[in-house]
């Protein structure tokens, strides 16, 4: 297999590699949208009543004749087929519709909530990854076994602690007790710290498991043996060799982590009274607000698939071996194995 080739050959190869991935990308998003549409519309419960009761409180009307009039008003009539295509057509033009429960534009709602969630998620990812690398580093270079063993016990704790517990404790201690951080909302920039720390615990722990396993494997490899024989310090070995080779398999779980963050935000946003995608989702499912649910699904599926696409592409960049074959199968195998090792 020749890796070097003339530019047009390389370009064609890249395209051959990319094309199915992009098709897959589109398919996943469309399928997710369709499956969700079906699920939501098969839900029992009347979305109209749910939406009305949010505003109406104990004065909500339940007279069937009146409800029919309103149903027509909100476009909740028509066959399932009509609703499906109508909504899809709109979505393709960028219009995600109007929320039945709040009357706001769905696109606006998501655009407002997404930065809040993203800020917390990105900070959590950063904190988690950085602290895992640091803990692994010290575990690796230390001479004392007991330090290594103690350090290695910390991350499993991060996975096991329920986010709602850590969130509540953090709020009590750091917001109300020590008054260091705001307890809620998104008015102050500092308000992302406590929620991010809450999420960083499990995220960092999951990342640690994969990363440290990769480091362990690298430690046992022949080139590290050679490097140690050459007299290089553990620190240099770690920073120059082990780190880069361990990051590769760790990147494969980035997609998994995004999925986890998407789920974890619901709890965190509830505890910290923040506006965000998680809260939006919970509220939307509770009020059968189909337009909002589908809007969120599309956005989340987009983000998830985009991340996976980038991860797949970056395989080619980071690992020359995969680049040579540019084979989708080997990449998928690597991902499967990473999932199993977890």
């Amino acid at each position: 297999m020749s890796t070097a080739g003339t530019s047009p050959n390389r370009a064609v190869a890249v395209l051959r590699y990319l094309a199915p991935k992009i098709v897959q990308f589109v398919f996943v998003i469309w399928a997710t949208y369709t499956v969700t549409f079906l699920l939501i519309h098969l839900l029992p419960g009347d979305p109209l009543l749910a939406a009305l009761s949010v505003k109406g409180g104990d004065a909500t009307t339940t007279d069937p004749a009146e409800l029919e009039i309103l149903r027509a008003q909100y476009g909740l009539d028509g066959s399932l087929w009509e609703q499906y295509w109508g909504h899809l057509a709109q979505a393709l033009q960028g219009d995600l519709g109007v929320s039945i429960a709040t009357g706001q534009n769905v696109g606006d709602m998501i655009a407002r909530a997404l930065p809040n969630t993203a800020a917390v998620a990105i900070l959590a990812l950063l904190l988690g990854v950085v602290s895992s690398v640091i803990v692994t580093y010290f575990a690796y270079v230390t001479r004392w076994a007991w330090v290594r063993n103690t350090l290695l016990q910390i991350p499993p704790l991060g996975v096991a602690i329920p986010a709602f517990l850590s969130g509540l404790v953090l709020v009590s201690v750091f917001a109300f007790g020590l008054d260091l951080f705001p307890s809620s909302g998104s008015r102050s920039p500092l308000s992302i710290v406590l929620p991010a720390v809450t999420l960083a615990l499990p995220v960092g722990a999951i990342f640690f498991q994969v990363f440290s396993a990769a480091v362990l494997e690298a430690m046992a490899s022949p080139y590290v043996f050679t490097a140690t024989a050459k007299g290089l310090s553990p620190r240099t070995i770690f920073l120059k060799h082990v780190l880069r080779n361990s990051l590769l398999p760790s990147i494969t779980i980035l997609g998994l982590l995004i999925g986890y963050l998407a789920g974890g935000t619901a709890v965190v946003e509830t505890v910290f009274s923040r506006d965000g995608i998680g809260r939006l989702t919970v509220d939307a499912v509770l009020s059968r607000d189909s337009n909002v649910i589908q809007g969120i699904i599309i956005v989340v599926a987009l983000v998830y698939s985009a991340v996976n696409l980038l991860v797949d592409l970056s395989y080619g960049v980071i690992d020359p071996r995969t680049r040579a074959t540019l084979s989708g199968r080997s990449v998928a195998r690597a991902k499967d194995e990473a999932a199993v090792e977890l």
Binding site: K55, A59, R112, S186, F272
Partner: protein, 526 residues
């Protein structure tokens, strides 16, 4: 003496000036050391237009932005002038004539005229179901006759006893002509243009609402403490859904006022550093509301036993506010027209058990009664106040009744109401008028929750809504309460109290007659 007249004139003018400066002196005494008040609310208001929502949180904010034709003294129930400087009704309460003040303008500088009021009422009727509470106040609306810019008459096809009370609420608060032409969606998301002492500045859903004072405001009702502009320039309402975060924020000083202090935390804020604001909700207390077409629920003995087997004092102790009263009738003690039925519903578990024994319900081995192989199990559907139901469940278990609690979302709750698929509902109905009983039980009501079959009760409830004479109406309402409790068509559990708290520096927070908040006089002192 040539200078006598000028001196007299000067003297006269000085006296007049002295008289008219008295309110100014009162104004001077009231000022706020803080320019911005932070009022943490417990949920997103979802709709900024008080005409179109009945969520208490939205109404509390909307009250500051729209004014009403009349105001109601929360202590005496007396209706007093506000935007209408005088009003009168005909003998059978089917026709109401108002005379407006001549100096009221909306925040878009348009004046308040009869045209505007007519547009308000007409558009509310047109909106119909999207404005459910308003529709109930305007039942039988025929139209508004305009006499001139400041005089008009509102006509109904049948007597409408609760109308004036409704006119004092923010549900019939007046919005500008331009607002009446907007769609309901726009009115909810951008907020109405009102004539109130504040105007909407921003609304970030799930995050906060901000209102700023209206420059040049000058028409508060006589129930307020001052005249002129509001005393603070901004009120922020951050949305804080977590109870512990709201209370923690009050303690730390992050919030000046918080809405809905959980009763459990009341003890923390009774010191001098904080003010507590408690007002019992008017209307029907939080109760078990039956569907008597269902088996077991249809058994009179079961319902009466449930009534006697619930210890309302204990429920109030465990889950209610320290300042609240145990429920003692089908109406709450703060509702006009309330008459205590305490004797008929005093806690008597022995009598309850006797009723059940006599009806053939025998105690089973698991502590639950049964009859003909059927267990005495009933279900209750609710979307809030879970702890009240849990306390009730424990009490009813002691007399052998198995109460199954089904907590659902508000959407599913109304779904159950619509389909009639429930044994009991648990909720309160907050209205300032005893007409709430008709709304709850009458077969013609659009929000009927209590499904009962009693011709006498039905006719009484319909009659009271059209009775102009106050005493006659009171007699009818007394009868209604007696029947409802005697037949156990309701198992009252708790009188819900609106409980809010603020730092001790905050003054001027008052409740209106429907237990919603007035912030016109709010101020902070250092």
């Amino acid at each position: 003496m040539r200078w006598a007249a000028p001196v007299a004139a000067v003297a006269a003018v000085s006296v007049l000036a002295a008289c008219s400066s008295t309110p100014a002196e009162t104004d001077a005494a009231l000022e706020s050391s803080k320019d911005t008040i932070v009022f943490a609310i417990k949920e997103d208001p979802t709709c900024l237009d008080p005409q179109l929502t009945s969520l208490t949180t939205s109404l509390n904010i909307g009250r500051q932005v729209v004014d009403s034709l009349v105001d109601q003294d929360p202590e005496t129930g007396e209706i007093v002038p506000w935007l209408a400087e005088s009003f009168e009704t005909n003998d059978d309460l089917s026709s109401f004539t108002f005379t407006l003040r001549d100096d009221v303008t909306f925040s878009d500088d348009t004046p308040l005229t009869s045209e505007v009021v007519k547009a308000n009422l007409d558009s509310l009727i047109a909106l119909g179901r999207t404005a459910p509470l308003a529709s109930q106040f305007l039942a039988g609306y025929v139209g508004t006759d305009i006499v001139d810019d400041l005089n008009f008459t509102v006509n109904f096809s049948a007597p409408n006893a609760p109308f004036l009370q409704g006119a004092s609420t923010m549900t019939l608060g007046l919005v500008s002509l331009a607002t009446t032409a907007e769609t309901a969606e726009v009115r909810c998301t951008t907020g109405p243009i009102g004539s109130g002492s504040f105007v909407y500045d921003s609304y970030t859903p799930n995050d906060s609402v901000v209102i700023v004072k209206r420059e040049g405001y000058g028409w508060p009702s006589e129930l307020r403490e001052h005249t002129g502009d509001a005393l603070v320039s901004t009120i922020e309402f951050p949305v804080i859904t977590e109870n512990s975060v709201r209370t923690g924020g009050l303690e730390s000083g992050e919030f000046d006022i918080i809405q809905d202090l959980p009763y459990i935390d009341e003890a923390r804020f009774t010191s001098d550093d904080f003010n507590l604001y408690a007002k019992a909700n008017t209307g029907v207390p939080n109760s078990l509301i039956p569907n008597t077409t269902r088996p077991i629920v249809s058994d009179d003995a079961v319902r009466k036993a449930m009534l006697l087997g619930t210890d309302r004092e204990e429920i109030n102790l465990l889950t209610g506010s320290a300042s609240g009263q145990p429920a003692t009738s089908a109406l709450t003690s703060s509702t006009s027209g309330f008459t205590s039925q305490a004797d008929a519903m005093a806690y008597d578990p022995d009598a309850a058990e006797e009723l059940l024994d006599d009806a053939g319900w025998e105690l089973g081995s698991d502590g639950i009664r049964e009859k003909d192989g059927q267990k005495l199990t009933v279900s209750v559907t609710a979307f809030y106040a879970q702890d009240v139901l849990e306390a009730t469940q424990i009490q009813l278990k002691k007399i052998g009744i198995d109460l199954q609690i089904t907590m659902v979302t508000s959407g599913d709750f109304f779904g159950a109401v619509a389909s009639g698929d429930y044994d009991f509902l648990a909720a309160g109905l907050t209205r300032s008028d005893p007409d709430a009983l008709r709304v709850l039980f009458s077969t013609a009501s659009s929000a009927k929750w209590g499904i009962v079959d009693n011709a006498e009760l039905e006719s009484i409830l319909v009659e009271q809504a059209g009775t102009a004479d106050a005493d006659a109406r009171q007699d009818l309402i007394d009868d209604a309460q007696k029947i409802i409790i005697d037949e156990a068509y309701l198992v009252p559990l708790l009188e819900t109290t609106q409980l809010h708290a603020s730092t001790s520096a905050v003054q001027g927070v008052t409740f209106d007659s429907a237990s919603r908040i007035q912030l016109y006089d709010v101020r902070a002192s250092e």
